[in-house]
């Protein structure tokens, strides 16, 4: 249970050297946003993992409900035509 003395929980997202987007790295506690960035630096980038850090208070995240899984995600299973697999790719096209 959260008391006044506890620091709020933050979620940490790190963009790595190779990565194009920020990836969830984990979570930590901090008293404010600035401290959260510094704690993230100290906890999650010790081995040169990152070039950029995002933090967001965990209670600001709106998540989908597990019970909605069927309604949200199952309909996509039967839509094979949404995958780009119906094209013939010429041999000399690179980087695809």
């Amino acid at each position: 249970m959260q008391t006044e003395r506890d620091w709020p929980l933050y979620e940490v997202f790190i963009r790595s050297r190779q990565g194009l987007s920020h990836v969830h790295a984990g979570s930590l506690h901090a008293a404010d946003d600035r401290m959260a960035v510094e704690n993230a630096r100290d906890v999650y980038t010790r081995r040169g993992e990152g070039l950029s850090i995002w933090v967001v208070r965990s209670d600001r995240i709106t998540a989908s409900a597990p019970d909605d899984k069927g309604a949200l995600f199952d309909p996509a299973d039967s839509k094979v035509y949404r995958h780009p697999t119906f094209y013939d790719v010429p041999d000399d096209v690179e980087c695809l």
């Binding site: 506690h29 510094e38 704690n39 100290d42 906890v43």
Partner: protein, 261 residues
């Protein structure tokens, strides 16, 4: 080895050795002191933060003591200098050997030292000794982060609860007199400054004091009146505390020389 030092007369080389030992021992002893927080940090995040800073300092100490060993020319490497010298051979300022105390004292000392080291290394990068300039280039970024991290904590503690304010005020009263030694210089320093090898610490002082005042204002604390200016560590005259630090740090390599794992 840097071009400059290869052509140096022995006296100048000795002065340079003193300079390098002073820097290396500051980093080593403060790193050792900070490492005592491992597993005892106020939070797991701060535990890791202090351990990171300890490792930064010990990394700097290794580079500096390795260079000191080469300047000395007696075949001693960084480990020999760290583990097989006695207290009177250490050249660190008294500030870094004081007991770490509570978190407020640890953080305030880290702030004072890191702010000084950031300025010193920042200026050292431009000086003529290539080895020192290269070590400074790596270290200045680490110390800039320590100064920022500690400075924010100083504000939080000073401007926090009645108890955190009281603890920080006590730490300030105790530590402030010891900050003066960071800005003292002797004949050897003057020679190194004249030779363009180290920056003049006196010139760094106004900016350091300005940055300290800014943080103290935000923390709601006043810099104490000057009373005494304890010093001596830079010349090997230490407080009783260094002996205990060395006993803990050195006993294993002294009991089992050449031990490996």
């Amino acid at each position: 080895m840097a071009v400059v030092t290869a052509q140096m007369p022995d006296e100048a080389k000795h002065a340079l050795l003193q300079t390098v030992l002073r820097l290396g021992d500051n980093a080593l002893i403060l790193g050792q002191e900070l490492s005592k927080w491992v597993s005892r940090g106020p939070t797991v995040e701060l535990d890791i933060a202090l351990a990171n800073q300890s490792l930064d300092l010990i990394g700097q100490a290794r580079l500096l003591l390795d260079y000191a060993g080469r300047l000395e020319g007696k075949g001693r490497d960084e480990d020999a200098l760290a583990f097989h010298r006695d207290a009177w051979d250490f050249r660190n300022v008294l500030l870094v050997e004081l007991p770490r105390g509570d978190f407020a004292k640890t953080i305030l000392r880290q702030f004072f030292y890191a702010l000084w080291a950031e300025a010193f290394y920042g200026a050292l990068r431009q000086r003529r000794d290539e080895t020192l300039a290269a070590i400074a280039g790596k270290s200045v970024k680490e110390m800039a982060y320590h100064a920022r991290h500690a400075g924010e904590w100083v504000v939080r503690l000073g401007d926090g609860t009645a108890e955190s304010h009281r603890r920080l005020a006590e730490a300030l009263a105790e530590l402030w007199p010891y900050t003066h030694e960071l800005f003292m210089s002797d004949q050897a320093d003057a020679e190194m400054v004249a030779a363009g090898i180290i920056p003049d610490v006196e010139a760094l002082r106004p900016a350091w004091e300005g940055a300290v005042s800014e943080v103290m204002d935000a923390a709601g604390l006043a810099i104490p009146e000057d009373t005494w200016r304890p010093a001596g560590g830079r010349n090997g005259v230490h407080s009783e505390h260094l002996g205990f630090i060395l006993a803990e740090m050195q006993h294993l390599p002294r009991m089992y020389p050449e031990a490996t794992w």
